[in-house]
């Protein structure tokens, strides 16, 4: 085999951290990894947050963010060890031989300059093309990446195009200088799922057509499986498993990889509705104060005792607004909420303590859902005190019971939120909601900010608690895998309307309406060749129309 394009040996990366109130000290982020990228091949780097995957990607351009620096090992690009290169050679490498696509194109484009100027800048600066050639090349790339009006879109400013389009512009920016290697750093993570698939397709086709090699960094194994030839699984700065994509997806050797592959394959049987609904949302139409358009249009859903209703939709679908209406934070313009057989006051101030107790809420960001100045004991204890008047030993006993239910020990009682991990924080929030002995809990994207394995743990815990406590969940999420794992019934929301509503099996079985079809077919599946199938299907459909 010929000399690889990118050869990394024993790469060690460290950083100096400045924790407030402590002395600055050095930490290791990456503890020595080896990998190769051959010409025209794609290596996927996958791992949870803190695995060091972005850091490795940037190290291939001899770049470190903040105080990050390469502390050992070799990085060979095109047969040169860039660790031994001077700054001038490194500048020629960056933007010429190796280019970069970041997670947030919106932040990575200079807001004060036209898109075309930024797309061609590296190509012209590295003397790869003349300005004229580079602009022609950019327009060809815009077209190839499926951007509308490829001739003129470059004359716009970054804020004048949508997020998904800007991400494709960023890809054009990376491909314009005809590099040997592109580092894609979570390029689709910030996008909605129906937008993600368009960008993913565009990237996949661009890689195939230009024959460029790539490092594709993501936390989503299903995504990386679609674009990579090889995959490297990373955890805490160490290599876990490294091999061809088929081996990693279909025959993972390591336990950690197996867990990643089987993530969110929780098997949850749909329960049939029984008894009277605990929550009935009737004809709700709502808008925010001072705005002129409705964010919810005539929404109707029911939730039965001890069951889970998943409200699923993309950003702007109105799913979180629905939660605000139900909790009384946003009084609707029309319609009413029935809860446990009574009609709730539309305004929070008009609700009885019993109403408030029986309807609890868990938030997406556990970090800001807990007062950083209160201990876990205070946080869980307050509802006990507030609703049930518990004090002293009785309260403490109940707190410990609740901690036990969320699989945390008694010694957590005196800890502060800052001393907990992300998953532990979310568990404490769950305990706080359970402390009120509610009939129903609204879960607003409670697993979205967590790594997949941690999120899995939270979902399993919620299902288990539902059995014990017989509590109903209104589960708001954008993630269809989560919906499958936890729901009994589903409401698909799109632009403020309920697009499709019913039992889980019914909603997820054909025939579909157009939007649900698009949504379901856009969710990456953990198998090889999925993206090609979708591309082929969609091409066929558009040809048929």
């Amino acid at each position: 085999m010929s000399e690889p394009l990118l050869k990394v040996r024993g790469l060690k990366i460290g950083a100096t951290v400045y924790p407030p109130g402590e002395k600055p000290h050095d930490i290791d982020i990456v503890h020595g990894v080896d990998f190769d990228v051959q010409k025209g091949k794609v290596l996927g780097l996958i791992g949870e947050s803190g695995a060091g995957k972005s850091t490795i990607g940037l190290a291939s351009m001899a770049y470190g963010r903040g105080g990050v620096k390469i502390t050992g090992g070799e990085v060979w690009v095109n047969g040169r060890d860039i660790m031994q290169s001077g700054l001038g050679d490194i500048r020629k490498l960056r933007g010429g031989e190796v280019t970069y696509v970041s997670q947030s194109a919106a932040a990575s484009f200079n807001p004060a300059k036209k898109i075309i100027d930024q797309v061609v800048e590296a190509a012209v600066e590295q003397n790869k093309f003349s300005r004229k050639e580079a602009e022609d090349r950019a327009r060809v790339l815009f077209d190839k990446l499926g951007l509308p009006d490829p001739q003129n879109i470059g004359d716009r400013f970054p804020h004048q195009v949508s997020g998904g389009q800007l991400q494709r512009c960023m890809t054009a920016l990376a491909l314009c200088p005809e590099p040997d290697l592109v580092v894609f750093d979570e390029p689709t993570t910030a996008l909605d799922v129906t937008t993600q698939i368009d960008v993913l397709m565009a990237i996949k086709e661009a890689i195939r057509d230009t024959g460029v090699a790539a490092l594709y960094i993501t936390h989503d194994l299903a995504v990386v499986a679609q674009v990579s030839d090889d995959i490297m699984v990373l955890r805490h700065g160490n290599m876990v498993e490294y091999g061809p994509v088929d081996q990693i997806i279909n025959h993972p050797q390591e336990e950690y990889t197996q867990a990643l592959v089987s993530v969110r394959s929780i098997d949850h049987e749909e329960k049939a509705p029984s008894g009277d609904p605990v929550l009935s949302v009737r004809n709700i139409t709502a808008r925010y104060k001072g705005t002129q358009f409705d964010v919810l249009h005539n929404v109707n859903v029911d939730l039965y005792p001890g069951q889970t209703l998943a409200v699923v939709g993309e950003s702007g679908s109105g799913k979180s607004t629905l939660a605000r209406v139900i909790t009384g934070l946003l009084p609707p313009r029309e319609g009413e909420i029935e809860f446990a057989g009574r009609t709730l006051s539309s305004d929070l101030a008009g609700r009885s303590p019993e109403d408030l107790r029986e309807l609890q809420m868990i938030y997406q960001m556990a970090d800001v859902a807990m007062n950083p100045r209160q201990t876990v004991g205070t946080i869980i204890g307050r509802p006990l005190e507030f609703y049930f008047g518990m004090k002293g030993a009785e309260k403490r006993k109940r707190i410990i019971e609740l901690l036990d239910e969320i699989e945390l020990g008694e010694d957590f009682i005196d800890r502060y939120p800052a001393e907990l991990s992300g998953g532990q924080k979310q568990r404490v929030c769950i305990a706080r909601a359970l402390a009120a002995k509610p009939k129903m809990i609204i879960c607003d994207e409670v697993t979205s900010a967590l790594d997949p394995l941690v999120a899995d743990g939270i979902l399993k815990l919620l299902l288990q608690l539902q059995k014990i406590e017989d509590v109903a969940f209104l589960f708001i999420t954008h993630d269809l895998a989560t919906v499958r794992a936890i729901s009994d019934s589903i409401a698909v929301m799109y632009q403020g309307k309920v697009q499709r509503y019913g039992g889980k099996n019914q909603v997820l079985s054909p025939p579909f309406d157009d939007y649900t079809d698009l949504l379901l077919s856009s969710v990456p599946e953990m198998r090889l060749g999925w993206l090609e199938e979708v591309i082929a299907n969609r091409k066929m459909e558009s040809a048929g129309n």
């Binding site: 490194i90 500048r91 484009f109 590296a122 600066e125 716009r156 004048q160």
Partner: protein, 318 residues
């Protein structure tokens, strides 16, 4: 009408309304006194008749709103009334002194602004190294000492011990520009020191804020050199915050001038204001207060206008 024109019109209208309200506030501020102006001019021993005559003469018996409207109408047409203590025309007295003050502030700004921006850039370039730390330390020291003390320390060291420049800054029309500049060298130095620290610190913060943006990383990853990164990508986005810093500090300079003029016995607006505050000469105080406030509001308005004009989202709407 394009959004940007609307925003600009709004901001300028706001400035004018603010100025009107401020004039009212200054007028009310001088009315909450326990005695009255006639009493303070004539003193405690004045006869009731004399007081009554003076009140009538000054129009103090008219309702406050009428007096305010008269005062404001006069101010807008350039008539600021007459000083109680000297009977001199205030507009004429202020005109000369205002130009002296602006002369002083102008030279301080000419030196301080480029120096502060340069040092601010230097602090960013050598962030967390010794030049940055030195600059922070000097800043801390200079915001901890009142302006007039910096003035006297320099006067003691430079004018008295080293005898480089005169210790008082007398200027008049017959002096050449060179003589004038030599006369104001010390007060200009002090004013520069006073605003430099703030401006440096704020420039540093503004540039660091821009330099930490993701698009700067993009530019670095394109293989551009430091110079290209700063001038092509950082600078266009740093203009608005830097102009903002400069305007805020010029506004601060205008206030600093008051004290420095007293220290160096400089014949400007500040000296004039302070003198007449001690003499309780209300019309002069009102007039000076209004002018200082107008300059202050005007500079703040310019800062906002530049921010609006340089915002790409407003310049190139969707």
């Amino acid at each position: 009408m394009p959004l940007i024109v609307k925003l600009l019109a709004q901001r300028i209208a706001l400035g004018l309304i603010l100025l009107l309200l401020v004039s009212g506030l200054i007028f009310v501020g001088t009315m909450i006194l326990p005695g009255d102006v006639a009493q303070s001019i004539l003193g405690q021993s004045a006869t009731p008749e004399a007081l009554e005559n003076l009140r009538a003469e000054l129009g103090l018996n008219d309702p406050p709103l009428q007096r305010y409207i008269q005062w404001l109408g006069g101010a807008m047409t350039g008539d600021l009334g007459t000083a109680l203590t000297s009977g001199a025309d205030i507009t004429a007295s202020i005109a000369k002194r205002l130009s002296n003050t602006l002369f002083l502030a102008f030279w301080a700004a000419i030196i301080a602004v480029p120096l502060a921006i340069f040092l601010g850039l230097l602090a960013v370039r050598f962030k967390d190294r010794w030049p940055d730390k030195l600059i922070s330390a000097v800043t801390l020291a200079s915001i901890s000492i009142p302006e007039f003390l910096i003035g006297y320390v320099l006067m003691y060291l430079i004018a008295v011990k080293l005898r480089w420049f005169p210790s008082v800054a007398m200027i008049n029309d017959s002096m050449s520009l060179g003589d004038k500049l030599s006369a104001i060298a010390l007060p200009v130095t002090v004013l520069t020191l006073v605003v430099l620290a703030h401006m440096m610190r704020m420039t540093r913060a503004a540039i660091l804020n821009v330099m930490q943006s993701a698009y700067i990383e993009t530019a670095e990853l394109k293989g551009l050199n430091g110079f290209q990164v700063i001038f092509r990508h950082a600078f266009p986005n740093a203009i608005a915050p830097i102009v903002n810093v400069v305007m805020l500090n010029l506004a601060y300079l205008v206030v600093g001038v008051v004290v420095i003029e007293v220290v160096f016995v400089y014949p400007g607006m500040g000296q004039y204001l302070v003198d007449h505050v001690s003499k309780r000469d209300v019309p002069v105080v009102q007039a000076c207060g209004l002018i200082f406030a107008a300059v202050y509001i005007g500079l703040n308005m310019v800062a906002d206008v530049v921010a609006i004009l340089s915002n790409p989202r407003l310049r190139h709407p969707k």
